[in-house]
């Protein structure tokens, strides 16, 4: 009956209970959705990066190619190093429109927007160059003289319903599609590859600067050693194998994930304060009732259990609603708009459960303690 009484108590003030449940639910929904989205982005991007073969060389301190800027003259210096087979300079830029449609930046995936400018001949020299190894339609660039042409990822082809020999308009300029590639990565399949001069013209990029270099080692088994060697030789550059880069990205993104978790946790803690407030109000309102329970022989521990059970009920219902909302956002809304999966794993669900029940306990502990220590004398005070 203790538990039945607790449920009836919660139903007695339906709107207040509902608001408390919502408080927890919103916090938990934020934790589930933001963390799973963040995990999804991290996993997708890491997976994509790891598919790129070779060594990527960027400006030291830059977290990705878009934010990196290095002098193109490093290409010759790197290519002279022992163990280097080929070096391909690359520029990266975000297109504003493709086929007249505005591109919204979407964390490395989703509708197309990333343009890579290369020297076709040099790029072709890369044995293990990552993006375009698998041409599924048409061909890759044959020479450095091929301009105003693009090789597009298969996502671009399907998104804009384009085939080889058709034209693709990027930021108002028209390019002939000569090939379609499939990389196996959802992110990379949104790339558009063009001649570096076309990219510089199109995006007004400086002549002697590139975002990064793709380096092909003579012996792929010695990629790690070569990357370390480049780092030792050039203090302003940072070379990393794709695996290492993926790891670094993961570490950087973990900080973002942690921040996301912290922000959503604050929301959940506010929800926990809501429980504390609700339970405290409830205990104050039920002073006489608690006095009656104690006067008829209830132990203080029974009263403690009653109030704690009520607050945990709020947190458990909030958890269920929150996980439901968070999962819906992460699994249906986010992938629909961002074309990227979110990752909900058991660990995240356990975290949300622990957090929610912890908040229920913490929110209920003071009101429960206060109730348990009430005097049975309260039952004898006048009025209801």
């Amino acid at each position: 009956m203790l538990y039945a009484l607790a449920i009836k108590n919660l139903l007695r003030r339906k709107s207040r209970t509902l608001i408390s449940i919502l408080g927890i639910a919103i916090g938990i929904a934020m934790i589930v959705s933001l963390v799973s989205i963040s995990e999804g982005i991290q996993s997708t991007v890491q997976d994509s990066i790891s598919k790129i073969q070779g060594i990527s060389v960027m400006q030291k301190g830059a977290i990705d190619q878009i934010l990196s800027s290095v002098d193109e003259s490093y290409a010759d210096k790197i290519s002279q190093l022992r163990g280097v087979r080929a070096v391909s300079p690359e520029v990266f830029a975000m297109a504003s429109t493709v086929e007249g449609r505005e591109i919204v930046f979407r964390m490395g995936a989703g509708p197309p927007g990333v343009v890579i400018g290369i020297y076709p001949k040099t790029y072709e020299d890369l044995k293990s160059a990552g993006y375009t190894t698998n041409i599924i339609e048409g061909r890759f660039f044959k020479s450095d003289s091929e301009k105003s042409k693009v090789v597009i990822g298969k996502n671009i082809a399907s998104k804009y319903n384009k085939r080889v020999n058709q034209r693709l308009r990027i930021d108002g300029e028209s390019f002939k599609i000569i090939g379609v590639f499939e990389s196996g990565s959802n992110m990379i399949d949104n790339f558009i590859v063009m001649h570096i001069d076309d990219a510089r013209d199109l995006f007004n990029l400086p002549e002697n600067s590139v975002n990064s270099f793709m380096v092909d080692p003579s012996n792929p088994a010695q990629s790690d050693e070569l990357a370390k060697y480049i780092n030792r030789k050039f203090s302003k550059l940072h070379a990393s194998t794709s695996q290492e880069f993926a790891k670094q990205f993961g570490e950087t993104f973990s900080v973002i994930s942690l921040f996301t978790l912290a922000v959503s946790s604050v929301a959940a803690i506010v929800g926990g304060l809501g429980i504390a407030n609700t339970m405290l109000m409830s205990v104050i309102e039920r002073t006489k009732e608690i006095g009656v329970l104690k006067s008829v022989g209830w132990y203080s521990s029974d009263v403690l259990k009653l109030i704690l059970f009520e607050s945990i009920m709020i947190s458990v219902i909030g958890l269920i609603v929150g996980v439901g909302i968070g999962s819906f956002v992460a699994l249906y809304i986010f992938p629909t708009f961002m074309n990227m999966p979110a990752l909900i794993n058991l660990e995240l669900l356990l975290l949300a459960t622990g957090f929610s029940i912890g908040l229920g306990l913490l929110g209920g502990i003071y009101p429960a303690y206060k109730a348990a220590n009430m005097s049975p004398l309260e039952a004898f005070r006048g009025g209801d």
Binding site: M1, L5, K288, V296, G297, Y299, F380
Partner: protein
Amino acid sequence: MTHIELKNLCKDFVLGNQVIHALKDVNLKIKRGEFVSVVGPSGSGKSTFLNMVGAIEKPSKGAMIIDKENIVDYDDRESSDFRREKIGFIFQTFNLLHDLTARENILIPTVPDGIPDHANKRAIKLLEQMDMADRASHKPMELSGGQQQRVAIARALINEPEIILADEPTGELDHKSGNTIIELMKKLNRSEKVTVILVTHDLKVAKMADRIILLDDGKVVLDKPSNRVNIKDLII
């Protein structure tokens, strides 16, 4: 046979800088199965007296021997056990839980013991005794004042207590319902051999007891069998 014995019982309250002596050296013996009325003006110490016997409050001084045990020495848990096993409280305002049915309200004191089967059976029997069998599933708001008080009496009796402590049980009832409740308590007192201590303002109600104790300013000023007390003796 003495059931309850109060020895030099004192209770002081501190109100600001003032010390209020609610009970002053009260010495009393109440026999098992006695029906005692406690009367007196407001502030005479009646409720404090009742709370002491019910282990709700501890005295400042003195001893309270019930069944040969000094309940003053009880800790919080022992006091709860004592109240649940030996005492049945009846309140002026019934103090039923509005969300529970009559039957559930009666069972409330048995929750710490896990509501044993025999308690369920006894609750039904008590409802029948109170002529409330057809109201078992009704919530307090669906019952009259007299019916609510009968449910409260059944709740007080659920654990087969040795002592019933009633604090102005007729205070919220009309004359007829009040008399019915007192008659019911007298009947229970006789049939179940329960010791009843009834605190009341109503001197006619008080006269229905076997014995009347008059308190004034924290002291016992009259203690006689009710048939030897005139109502005017009780007016202070």
